[in-house]
Amino acid sequence: MTTTVAATTIKARQRPGDRVFSTATVVSGSLILAVLAAVALFLLVESLPAFVAEADAFSGETNNFMEYVGPLVFGTVWAAILALLMAVPVAIGIALFISHFAPRKLAQGLGYLIDLLAAVPSVVFGLWGITVLAPLVRPFYVTLTEWFGWFPLFEGPVSGTGRTILTVAVVLAVMILPIITAICREIFLQTPLLHEEAALALGATRWEMISMAVLPFGRPGIISASMLGLGRALGETMAVAMVLSPSAEVIFQLLTAENPTTIAANIALNFPEAHGVGVNILLATGLILFLVTLVVNMIARVIINSRKAFSGAN
């Protein structure tokens, strides 16, 4: 009885449950691809007229679509990078604090506190940005231009309202902080206890233990989390539209009244009054945002794959 039955079971006998379950997973995976294809198709069809649009369909001095979308792409990536630069170190810090520094009893409450930030709707971030943050940081910007005006990024004249790209980046950083923190925290908590104990037993300080055991284990997760945050920062609409004082130029200065605007915010600002080919142009910028995300993700993938050796999972 034993040998034959065992042989057949080992040969992966397909149970009905297994078959149903695996089919379900394949179907939902494909469904995602289908939805994405549908969105892409919709964008593509809608944006075709924009690529051949006449010069007078564009406002201002731009003559064709590429000239129109160029500064927007720059603004989108610029704002997202600034936000990410601020958010990621802080988020890793918070996640470490919750997972490895804070007293165990406190940790859960603290984690919950940060999750609260994720619950704040973007309209509220926008309202907070204009009514609280911008007036608060303006005096600081004035000092910054006075002292560090020689540094290109901080060149004046300083904005009269404080609603600059740097303010927007701060708002975006606060918005993506909970996303990155939550995922990093969960991952840091999953670090094999044995690794940590081994490091400590060898006489490592707490920080050495973290840098030797926790961070290498969590690195792919940190990158994943940052990319989720990046996605949010790239696509954020309302908060940017409400806070930013935009213009359609490539500007590196962080503190002036004129700032490069982002694609999503530009769509939100101009869509209500758009008609005719104007709608197509805005949707075409949406397609470009799609491509930007695609490229950014490709780069990140390459980075993750080149570091695969460090992955501690499984």
Binding site: G160, T161, R163, S245, E273
Partner: protein
């Protein structure tokens, strides 16, 4: 599992669900118990368009729904362009729009209208646009169109500029950079503001457009401009007069006098403006007289239209639109909107004109 621990939140959630699933206290058929025999209108009227009309439409819809309890009015303040697009595609009963239909749009088909009939523009909403500023120590400011244009196109950059000082000999203007705040979204307010500057000034140097043509501070929507001006330093901006709150406003030079905005002065300039030439007789698109020299008139106004079909494909919808828009343009309707949205009521003559055209809409 400890059921005592979960029991309480569960009970609270349960009660909350019960409370939420009950009907809203202010809805239901309470209104029909009165002498509601007069109203036979039923149905839902969906419309959309200019966000400038948002507050007024809320007030109109509320009053109209009280008088006709079986009617629901939904007005999306999604923007003039979106409103016109939806109307042309046949997706809404009427459109609210800050600009009248273009020749191009009139040449096409209208989805909600009976085949081969056109749509008309009816002015229903007049609002003065105020120029607001926030400069410490300055409460009153007089400007003419040339100076205003120079401030907003970036030629004048400081509050103690000679041109501003010459117009305001009594004010103590500080040595402070001007932050001119414009609408960052495309809007009818910007179109009317730039139209005024293009027509009344010699220094503007651009055409009227719903996108602000120069740089400077941008802010989203009327509320965004108001809060940027309020929270900024040395700021000036333009906004719908009803939203100005406590900010100081500029008096504009008309003829030889400086005129502060008032609803009367705004209605006056609209009453004195001719219709746009070369359009259908029942189309009340207005060609606003920005260059007026009559100090009774305040030339910086926004006129917003209700765009309706001459004849609706769906007669029931036609009846509903007719009743509602007639109410909007009526004296009572204008009074309601003046009280709650700060509009300038239509002059009696214009109001009658609109009513007589609406009488033929079906």
């Amino acid at each position: 599992m400890n059921f005592k621990r979960f029991g309480r939140p569960a009970a609270i959630a349960f009660v909350a669900v019960i409370a939420l699933s009950s009907c809203a206290a202010n809805e239901g058929d309470t209104a029909s118990t009165g002498d509601g025999a007069e109203s036979t209108l039923t149905g839902t009227l969906n419309a959309g368009g200019a966000s400038s009309q948002g507050a007024a439409q809320e007030a109109w819809a509320a009053a109209f729904q009280i008088a006709n309890p079986d009617v629901t009015i939904n007005y999306d303040p999604s923007g003039s362009g979106a409103g016109r697009e939806a109307f042309i595609a046949g997706g809404s009963g009427f459109a609210g729009s800050d600009s009248y239909l273009s020749e191009e749009e009139l040449a096409g088909e209208f989805g909600a209208c009976a085949p081969d009939t056109l749509a008309v523009d009816l002015p229903v909403y007049i609002s003065p646009i105020a120029v607001i500023f926030n400069v410490e120590g300055v409460d009153e400011l007089n400007l003419d169109a040339d100076t205003l244009a120079s401030i907003f196109n970036g030629t004048i950059t400081n509050w103690n500029d000679a041109a501003i000082v010459a117009l305001n000999p009594d004010a103590t203007l500080p040595d402070l950079a001007i932050a001119a705040v414009h609408r960052s979204d495309d809007s009818g307010t910007t179109e009317n503001f730039t139209d005024y500057l293009a027509q009344a000034s010699t220094t503007w140097g651009e055409e009227a457009s719903d996108t602000f043509p120069f740089g400077g501070e941008g802010a989203q929507g009327t509320s965004g401009v108001v809060s940027a001006v309020t929270n900024g330093v040395g700021t000036i901006g333009y906004a719908d007069a009803s939203q100005v709150n406590d900010l100081s406003t500029v008096a504009l030079k008309v003829g030889d006098e400086f005129v502060a905005y008032t609803p009367e002065a705004a209605a006056e300039v609209v009453a004195g403006s001719p219709l746009v030439e070369g359009r259908a007789a029942d189309d009340l698109a207005l060609d606003l007289n920005r260059q007026t020299t009559n100090p009774e008139e305040y030339p910086l106004v926004l006129v917003s239209y209700a765009i309706v079909c001459n004849e609706y494909a769906d007669a029931e919808q036609g009846e509903l639109v007719n009743a509602y828009v007639t109410y909007m343009a009526s004296e009572a309707g204008q009074a309601v909107a003046e009280e709650s949205a700060g509009i300038a009521p239509l002059s009696a003559e214009l109001s009658e004109n609109v009513a007589s055209i609406l009488a033929t809409v079906k």
